[in-house]
Amino acid sequence: MATLETPSALAPRHPFSRRRWSWELLANLVARNLRVKYQRSALGFVWTLLNPLLTVGVLIAVFRYVVKLQVPHYWAFLISGYFVWSFTLQALTAATTVLPEHSHLARSLPLPSETLITATVLSRLAEFLAEMALVLVLLTVFHHQGVPASYLWLPVLVVLQVTLVLGLTLPIATLSAFFHDVQHALPIALMVLFYVSPVFYPASLVPEAARGWYQLNPFAGLLTAYQSALYEGRAPALGLLALTAAEALAIAGVGYAIFRRYRGLLPEIV
């Protein structure tokens, strides 16, 4: 065509290769998700914060005054890890619906499903980062009264967290396209995961004998690392961090393999 502006367009290309990764599309989808969520709501981000803040408030009340966990500055401990958990919860829950929501689209355009799935995780990540900014302000002002060097670990932990959650999101989205059970099973699995992960209690309270097993849960390692860096103001234990990173990579690898095996079918079946 005469007005062609991209010479590479004439290169031979198999149609499948066109369903390729696109950062441009990813950025647009993330912007869309955030815009749709916040554009027409006057309180916007406050709504997003309200749910976790209420939960945090209830947990603080219960574990300071009723159960009386022996954790000094319990509020600071709780907010160091809670938002990591709520990010995980919301990203994994959204994974079960993202493909059906876009089924119309997936049949009319060669959209890569991985871009759609990643976009849901990343738009949630944007909210998480905003929440984290608030957490950092609170901890800096009221807990540490200063900026501990351990905050520098935060980018590493965020990358680890995204790897782990994406690694779970891809197969969950894929399998929920095949089995409706995933939608029913996921809330139960997440409820169990909430209790076996150190969200509202520190991993140090787990009996010594069981801690080895306990720490095999990658979320245990991740949350403990967040709590070290933010609440304690200390660098995370490197051994546990390495284990968690290895697990996150393994989960991402297996998750991507599952997704890759069935992705060709996804536009047809959702």
Partner: protein
Amino acid sequence: MPSSAATVVSSPRSSERPAARSAMAEPAIVCRGVVKHYYYYEHRTTSLRELFRRRVLRRPLHVRQPRFALSGLDLQVGHGEGVVLLGRNGSGKSTVLRLLAGIYQPTAGEIEVRGRVGTVMELGAGFHPELTGTENVHLYAAMLGLGRREVAARYERILDFAGLGDFISMPVKYYSSGMQARLAFAVAICVDPDILLLDEVLAVGDQGFRERCMERLRRFREAGGTLVAVSHDPEGIEKLCGRAVWLQAGQVRMEGPTAEVAAAYAASAHGEGREGG
């Protein structure tokens, strides 16, 4: 059910073409023996409880029959050619477009497509009702594969073609369906594809807009663009597509100059209509 995927053998890509031949000399689209089957399920296991029960009882997980949407399609479209696909509902026309666009994978056979492909399967499928026209233009263009700078370069042209005036800054949900179609078509055509896949989308919109689309498509064709269209109304598209391919039950029943094929198709459809009535 995952195990069903194992039966789908996708075609390996064929890159072993003689390098000496220039890209332009080769056809834009080649389909060789393309088979696509969907399964028609009498029973489909969609829950884990059933999966478990059927494993224990050694029952088959799925009772299904492949339904061939395409059974051995051979098709060649040269650069700058216009082809219209004719056929009754379910004859495989849309499947051909989806395979060419890379939305579906073929069960067997080879597909080669050379050039940037623009796909207009359903107008406005990528639009989000809450976003404004402008925001949707950017989103839809990204879905069609354009980069930010490419969109910026085309933005004025898109607005110009859509002709929506002030509506462009309103959420798309306030648009009439004709207006949505105009905006979507404007984006799709301004992608400047080498190959345009068009699935019966010009039925929407008012007379004036349809004429502008036809005019735009005519210019696209004159500039050497390749067009593969699906239509139930061959007369409207005859000027754009010199060749027609009549699909029946997933195979080419007749192929040739549009007027001839369309006449035969019309006669057959008419005859079947009478038999049925």
